[in-house]
């Protein structure tokens, strides 16, 4: 084992710990709120953990730092996953996190730019990628080295505006734009291939002029490898079709469509939190630092 490989293994373990904590946050947030989308929030957790703890250049003390990298959660219903990452990164405290979906909260049901660390208002599917394209073009026109990242859903690719944005990103040669498709295979009404066929999805993006890879969206090595290669793309936007599992990380949620748009019952919440208990989770019963 080389030192680099060993360092990488340590890095993956750290990211895995972030992902575990993020999933606990997601469960606690949505169960406390009594609504939300825990299943679709779980599938991109490894991607978000990789971005927020191994890739993005950010300053939680100065969320509007102009030279920061940007992240757009185009599939805005995974807001709890974004909030979990932002909390872990230090953008807001735990108390704030648990106000999700409450009146007066900084944390709306779907992301809004008033939340520290949120770069784009999203939630209406199909609208986020265009904003990311505008940001990537904007920082390019400023000769800034900022990079722009986005996560879109697979079902979201039904939206026409996604493909308008896909055309524009390639046309404007936005090598600083990096996109993940959270390909968990399900949308609200059923499997994406039954609702509206997307296959061959990677080929479609390639045909639109993107540099495309197909990866396992829960494998840190593959996610980080894709991000590294994307850094070397001079004038082509990069996209990973990331195979993921809805509800990944909790046995009874994984692969289930049940938790697309409802929070867990208190009994399910307890089961999920027990499954997600980490090695140093002793004080969990006293309110959880999670």
């Amino acid at each position: 084992v080389t030192r680099a490989a060993s360092a990488a293994a340590t890095g993956y373990a750290t990211l895995a710990e972030r992902a575990r904590r993020m999933r606990r946050h997601i469960i606690r947030m949505t169960s406390h709120a009594g609504s939300g989308h825990p299943g679709p929030s779980f599938s991109p957790v490894e991607i978000l953990a990789s971005l927020y703890f191994a890739e993005l250049s950010l300053d939680p003390q100065h969320p509007d730092w102009p030279e920061r990298d940007r992240f757009v959660l185009s599939k805005g219903h995974a807001a709890p996953a974004l909030y979990a990452a932002l909390h872990e990164a230090g953008f807001f405290c735990e108390e704030t996190m648990l106000t999700l979906r409450q009146v007066g909260s900084l944390l709306q049901g779907h992301p809004h730019v008033k939340t520290p660390g949120v770069d784009a208002t999203t939630g209406s599917l199909g609208l986020g990628l265009s904003q990311a394209v505008g940001m990537a073009l904007g920082v390019t026109m400023r000769h800034s080295r900022s990079r722009v990242y986005a996560l879109i859903g697979d079902g979201e690719c039904d939206e026409g505006q996604i493909w308008e944005a896909a055309l524009a990103a390639a046309h404007f040669r936005l090598g600083n734009l990096v996109v993940f498709v959270d390909h968990n295979g399900y949308q609200f009404d059923g499997p994406v291939e039954e609702v509206m066929r997307l296959a061959p999805l990677a080929d479609k993006w390639r045909a639109f002029g993107w540099r495309v890879e197909e990866i396992d969206g829960h494998d840190f090595e593959q996610i980080l490898g894709f991000l590294e290669r994307a850094r070397h793309s001079a004038d082509q936007p990069s996209l990973a079709v990331a195979s993921t599992v809805k509800g990944y990380g909790v046995s009874f949620m994984a692969g289930s469509q049940e938790y697309h748009a409802r929070s867990l019952t208190s009994e399910e919440t307890q089961r999920a939190l027990i499954e997600l208990e980490g090695p140093a989770q002793a004080p969990a019963k006293t309110g959880d630092g999670g």
């Binding site: 730019v113 208002t121 265009s130 904003q131 505008g134 940001m135 073009l137 026109m141």
Partner: protein, 325 residues
Amino acid sequence: MASAACPPAQEQRIALGDALVRLGKEYPQLVVLSPDVSLSTRAIKFKAAYPERFICTGISEQNTLGMAAGLSTTGWLPLVAGYAMFVAGKAWEPLRNSVAYSGLNVKIVATHAGINVGPDGVTHQAIEDIALMRAIPGMTVLAPTDANQVEPVLRAALEHNGPVYVRLERAAIPALTDPGSPFAVGDSLTLRDGTDATVFGLGGMVAAALEAAEQLAAEGIRARVVSMVSIKPLDEAVVVRAARQTGAIVVAEDHNRCGGLGSAIAETLARLAPVPMEQVALPDVFAESGPAHALYVKYQLTTEHIARAVHTAITRRIQAGRDVP
């Protein structure tokens, strides 16, 4: 529609192209996005002057509004110039959710509003755009009186921090304002005083309202004429004053009678100073192809219709037993 007495008519989009070139110099952060209509909107002039700040976005209004939202968060001041039907209609939701809900500093200049677009027909005649725009919280909605007022209105839009919709028409409009007259968001422009009735006009209909007032004067009726350049926020003080001083209101606009300037003024009147009000507007129908003037005749948007509406409003006021000092 200009009579011989009217000053020379000019197209607002010609003024738009020239204004963008001047404003581009004053506002180095201004970028213009054009969904493949720069020849028609005259945004092409901005492209010629500042090619590095001109972004042709292709025929994709939704993506254009989304990109404008993103650009505005990276230090740019984006202005989208497109047809009213498509930037207000097709791109309404990205405008609502990506721009306005975030309170982003994006300007939308919509050309070709109303049925005066003419021969292109109903698919290109935006008669609902004001309703769509003013229903969005935080939107500012402006409509210059003539070509001369395009630049002052654009300047006010750029100075305003937040989303602004500027509505321009395709047809040439008689010059009624002086170039360079200052304008601020919320301003109205009283062009003729009168005590018997008030006509609130919008864009090209203001010139028709002035003609109507001239005709009415020959009958001894003194009609006030106000250009409601700022549809939202509305100059409520001038509306209330008109209601109290003249007691009879007419609103004239090249827009459907639902949701436009007429509705905005009716909302204010109902709340603060209820008096009889008549509308000169599209009677909740789609128009058709044809020369602008012929369409105005068929769809009841002429000087004569305004004059008739003034008579009706005054008659209603008298029947209601209201006296005006």
